[in-house]
């Protein structure tokens, strides 16, 4: 500040701002892309969900050393639990009565659900991508069969879970989804011991058909859940 500026400052007092708030409000609000929005929601996914997901990744990496050839059954029993986490996360707004507040915000409940499903979907995809080569390398099936036995239980748990949380409101729905996912998981964990007949090479074509059917069902149920946000806010 030179002496002229200092002189002016000393001679004149700064007037109080007039209509400062109105002036600030005139500035256009910054836009936020969907990808940025999805990333912004990472800290708001339940800490328990993230902790269990990390635990699943650790156990997938440790399983081959402990279980050896039986690793495929362990991994295929784990993916329905990953689907359970994704489904319960998408049901969180309704469970904690936040749906109305979230629906009235700029991004809306639909975008929020989409963000949560995307985040958990990506994590599940990474878990599957990591699991299949490990299962193939250490297990007794080829890559195609391993993929089927790992992904199909995930899709079964996800499609049934999404249908239930959409149809049955409140904790009852959540308990039912948990029970079904645990049941699917248990069957897969005990696959080689009690349900070996399900994994014969002659049955692969049925697994392929089941895989395609469940993939379609999971996509349909995801779409239905996203289009069902009005019903979620009207739960009183």
């Amino acid at each position: 500040m030179n002496r002229f500026e200092r002189g002016i400052k000393e001679s004149f007092s700064v007037p109080n701002p007039i209509k400062k708030e109105e002036f600030i409000k005139k500035f256009p609000k910054p836009e936020m892309s969907l990808s940025k929005f999805v990333i912004s929601q990472i800290p708001y996914v339940s800490k328990v969900t993230w902790a269990l997901t990390i635990l699943m990744f650790i156990s997938v990496f440790l399983a081959p050393r402990i279980l050896g050839v039986k690793v495929t059954w362990f991994i295929s029993g784990l993916t329905p639990l990953m689907a359970l986490l994704a489904v319960s996360e998408s049901n969180r707004s309704q469970k904690y009565n936040m749906a109305q507040l979230e629906a009235s915000t700029r991004f809306s409940l639909r975008s929020l659900l989409l963000a949560r499903m995307l985040l958990l979907g990506i994590v599940s995809f990474v878990l599957i991508i990591v699991s299949v080569p490990l299962g193939t390398f250490y297990g007794s099936f080829r890559v195609f069969e391993t993929s089927l036995y790992v992904i199909t239980p995930f899709l079964l748990s996800a499609s049934i879970g999404l249908y239930i949380v959409r149809s049955i409101k409140g904790n009852n729905g959540f308990y039912m989804v948990s029970a079904i996912s645990l049941f699917i998981s248990l069957i897969m964990f005990m696959g080689d011991k009690y349900f070996g007949f399900l994994f014969l090479s002659t049955g692969v074509k049925y697994w392929v058909m089941l895989f395609i059917l469940l993939l379609v069902l999971t996509i349909v149920e995801s779409k239905r859940l996203l289009n069902n946000t009005e019903d979620m806010t009207w739960s009183l």
């Binding site: 109105e22 409000k25 609000k29 910054p30 836009e31 936020m32 929005f37 912004s40 929601q41 708001y44 339940s46 800490k47 969180r92 904690y96 009565n97 936040m98 109305q100 507040l101 979230e102 629906a103 009235s104 915000t105 700029r106 991004f107 809306s108 409940l109 929020l112 009005e230 806010t233 009207w234 009183l236």
Partner: protein, 235 residues
């Protein structure tokens, strides 16, 4: 600044919850009165765009209630709302700021300002589950103001507030009503009398009164109660 409600209706099976309501609201505070089941909450949810009307439309300065731009200027306090179990007041307001697309820096300043306004600054780091009903309600009011709304919809905002908090809230709403449209529903007639520029009384899904109350000779409370009596007589 104008909110246009055009022949808005909501029907559930054979029951008509809101029956062809039309109104044009400008800047100011509007008090919505009505008995339980009169259709107040249904109307408010449709205005907010979270409930699809059976027929009719809602727009703010030409922006339809289904659009993102409408929600960008909206502040809404539902009658009943929850919170995620691990949230404190800061987390709750930051979370809703992120859904309202408010940049972090701006959100931080706004949250501090609002926590001060609603008197929760000292307990902002405490978990919401430890709050009293009145404190939760004040937090709800704070979240509705995060985005400097031009349209503020408050469903039973004074429920759970003690008399001191209620007066503080009235002053806040009165101030907000100078710059935006505030529509608030309540059972407490005195709240409406003190702060509303206009009164809307709902019965069986329709407005039975719409306008400034000082037009009438009798008290608003007497008129409101007479609406209940008429209902009981006809039953």
């Amino acid at each position: 600044m104008e909110l246009v409600i055009d022949r808005l209706s909501k029907q559930y099976g054979s029951k008509i919850a809101v029956d062809r309501i039309s109104a044009k609201l400008g800047k100011g505070v509007y008090g919505l009165l009505g008995a339980n089941g009169a259709g107040k909450t249904t109307l408010m949810r449709m205005i907010c765009g979270i409930l699809k009307p059976t027929s009719g439309s809602v727009s703010f300065d030409g922006i339809d209630s289904e659009e993102e731009n409408f929600r960008a200027i909206l502040g809404y306090l539902p009658q009943d709302f929850g919170y995620y179990p691990d949230f404190n007041a800061y987390d709750f307001l930051f979370y809703l700021s992120s859904l309202k697309a408010i940049p972090k820096k701006e959100a931080k300043a706004k949250i501090n300002e609002l926590l001060d306004v609603v008197g929760l600054k000292d307990v902002a780091k405490k978990k919401i589950k430890t709050y009293s009903g009145g404190m939760k309600q004040r937090l709800g009011i704070a979240q509705a103001l995060l985005n400097d709304p031009k349209l503020l919809i408050l469903d039973e905002p004074t429920a759970g507030l003690d008399p001191k908090e209620r007066v503080r809230f009235r002053n806040l709403i009165e101030k907000l009503g100078k710059d935006c449209i505030v529509l608030l529903s309540t059972h407490i007639v005195s709240d409406i009398e003190h702060i509303s520029d206009e009164v809307l009384i709902m019965k069986d899904g329709s407005f039975v009164f719409q306008g400034k109350w000082n037009d009438k000779e009798s008290s608003l409370e007497d008129f409101y109660l007479s609406q209940f009596e008429e209902g009981e007589d006809s039953e």
